[in-house]
């Protein structure tokens, strides 16, 4: 009992020092990646301009500011780049070395991505807070919903990471996995609501988008924090998040098991 606790504490300490080391080594890159995620902010300026002379589809300028700053924060904390390294490991056979370890390579990538989130903590929230204050959008947030917002971000992260991991595993069958990532990204940005709030679309389109996983990656967490959703809608949203999480965890496990058979069959 006592020894496991000590072991875990030591593991956590090691992980923390690795985080710090990585942060120091790649701090410039982290900053660049954050700047590279500015598309929601560009959309914010455009929509705020459109709403300058009166609300657009129920959104005043401050509503747009709150919406897109939240989109920015959700995207930053669900950042996922696993397709490239994973498919490279499979294609070039680097996976063989990883398979020797008594740990599913999945967890190595999970740790990588969690560390990236930790690195964003000192920068992203203050910047967003500043933006909210400057645009007068702070009052648009429902502070009471913050715990639910965090939960929704966690759900979004689980869906996105497992979705991308599954896509990366496609490399067991074809070397085109990374080209699909571009397609996925375009759909994700539009359906997720990173370019405009999807309630600006006709109701039918909204209903269709609400069935796809993409809505739960950006649009849903943002709506939670804006306090727009009733109790039933919240339940439904979190239920959908859970459903899609399970679907993609299942897909990943299926692809992993079958892909591994192929991989050994190739004799790499």
């Amino acid at each position: 009992m006592k020894t496991t606790l000590i072991r875990r504490l030591r593991l956590a300490r090691v992980l923390l020092s690795v985080t710090l080391a990585a942060f120091i080594e790649y701090r410039a890159e982290v900053l660049i990646w954050m700047i590279a995620g500015t598309l929601p902010l560009i959309m914010m300026f455009i929509w705020m301009g459109l709403a300058a002379n009166g609300p657009v589809g129920g959104y005043a300028a401050a509503d747009f500011a709150a919406y897109f700053l939240l989109v920015f924060i959700v995207r930053q904390f669900t950042v996922c780049w696993v397709v490239q390294p994973l498919s490279r490991e499979i294609r070039l056979g680097e996976m063989s070395a990883r398979l020797m370890r008594p740990l599913d390579p999945y967890w190595v990538h999970v740790a990588d991505h969690i560390i990236a989130l930790v690195m964003r903590f000192p920068i992203v929230p203050p910047v967003v807070l500043l933006g909210l204050v400057l645009t007068g959008a702070l009052a648009k947030l429902s502070i009471a919903a913050s715990p639910l917002f965090l939960l929704a971000i966690a759900g979004a992260w689980l869906i996105r990471f497992n979705m991308h991991y599954s896509l990366g595993l496609v490399a067991f069958w074809t070397d085109q996995a990374t080209s699909f990532e571009g397609l996925l990204f375009t759909i994700y940005m539009v359906f997720g609501g990173a370019l405009f709030p999807i309630d600006l679309l006709p109701p039918t389109a909204q209903e269709v988008i609400a069935l796809t996983p993409f809505h739960y990656l950006i649009g849903f967490p943002v709506d939670v924090m804006l306090g727009k959703l009733s109790g039933i809608e919240l339940l439904r949203g979190f239920g959908m998040q859970m459903l899609w999480t399970l679907v993609f965890i299942g897909t990943r496990q299926l692809a992993w098991r079958n892909g591994l058979k192929r991989y050994s069959a190739v004799g790499a």
């Binding site: 890159e29 995620g37 500015t38 705020m48 301009g49 657009v56 699909f180 397609l183 405009f196």
Partner: protein, 260 residues
């Protein structure tokens, strides 16, 4: 003259190479289609609720999106397949072979490969510009010529910025992120510069001249160009090209190869 002959050989060679990997064709086609559709959906969502973006009407905004698509294609066809490889050349030491050839190394690094499958984007972009021109004032030879010159200037500026960003690979090998940095600003180019608040406009005009790359050619096409901007565009293209060449020469002079 020799360089034109080489360009033709490189193009034929790239075409042969690309035909080996025809699977790319379908994926590239679908991603072109999706990029096009998502761009139009955004414009649709905006004009569903407004009559103008930054003073630009619907056909004008479509022409601008067309220009944006042309530049996206330009980047995908020419810049990414060539300059995108520079960090690898430096990391692996292959840069040495490039420098040994009796040619301008900047030319060789910039125009060796072409990803022709993304070229259709440019045709769609041109069609959108054409649509915008017909809807706003007609396809007059003068405005076509003006738009073509401004497009060319924009292409030169885009090339020069990309070239300078990737040249930093001589010092920082992990430069792929630096290209992301350009994209972060470039995505603003699908909207008219007038749609942004003043401080963003200043950044996009004077620091990262995206305004000259997309807004100015589109303005020329739909007949709303003002001459200071047109002349500024030419000056910036010339200035940036010269700067990129000087920077390249300086970088190569300081290059110490991978092994040493």
């Amino acid at each position: 003259m020799r360089y034109f002959a080489l360009l033709r050989i490189f193009m034929a060679n790239s075409l042969q190479l690309e035909l080996e990997y025809r699977a790319n064709l379908l994926i590239d086609f679908v991603s072109s289609l999706l990029g096009f559709a998502s761009g139009l959906v955004v414009i649709y969502a905006m004009f569903n609720h407004a009559t103008a973006i930054g003073g630009w009407s619907l056909p004008e905004a479509i022409a601008l999106f067309g220009v944006f698509m042309i530049f996206e294609a330009f980047i995908e066809v020419f810049l990414y397949p060539n300059l995108g490889k520079l960090p690898d050349y430096v990391r692996t030491g292959n840069m040495d072979f490039t420098l040994l050839k009796p040619l301008s190394s900047q030319f060789l690094v910039s125009f060796r490969y072409f990803n022709i499958w993304r070229a259709p984007d440019a045709i769609v972009g041109l069609a959108l510009v054409g649509y915008g021109m017909i809807e706003t004032g007609g396809l007059r030879p003068a405005s076509i010529l003006l738009a073509a010159v401004m497009l060319l200037a924009g292409a030169v500026t885009t090339y020069a910025i990309w070239c300078m960003l990737t040249t930093t690979a001589f010092w920082w090998v992990r430069v792929s992120n630096v290209m992301e940095l350009f994209n972060a600003f470039f995505v603003a180019g699908r909207f008219p510069i007038t749609a942004f608040p003043t401080w963003v406009r200043v950044i996009l005009t004077f620091i990262v001249p995206i305004a000259f790359i997309t807004t100015v050619p589109a303005s020329a096409a739909v007949g709303r160009l003002d001459w200071p901007m047109a002349l500024g565009s030419l000056a910036i293209a010339g200035g940036f090209l010269l700067l990129s060449h000087l920077f390249w020469r300086w970088a190569v002079a300081n290059y110490t190869s991978a092994s040493s």
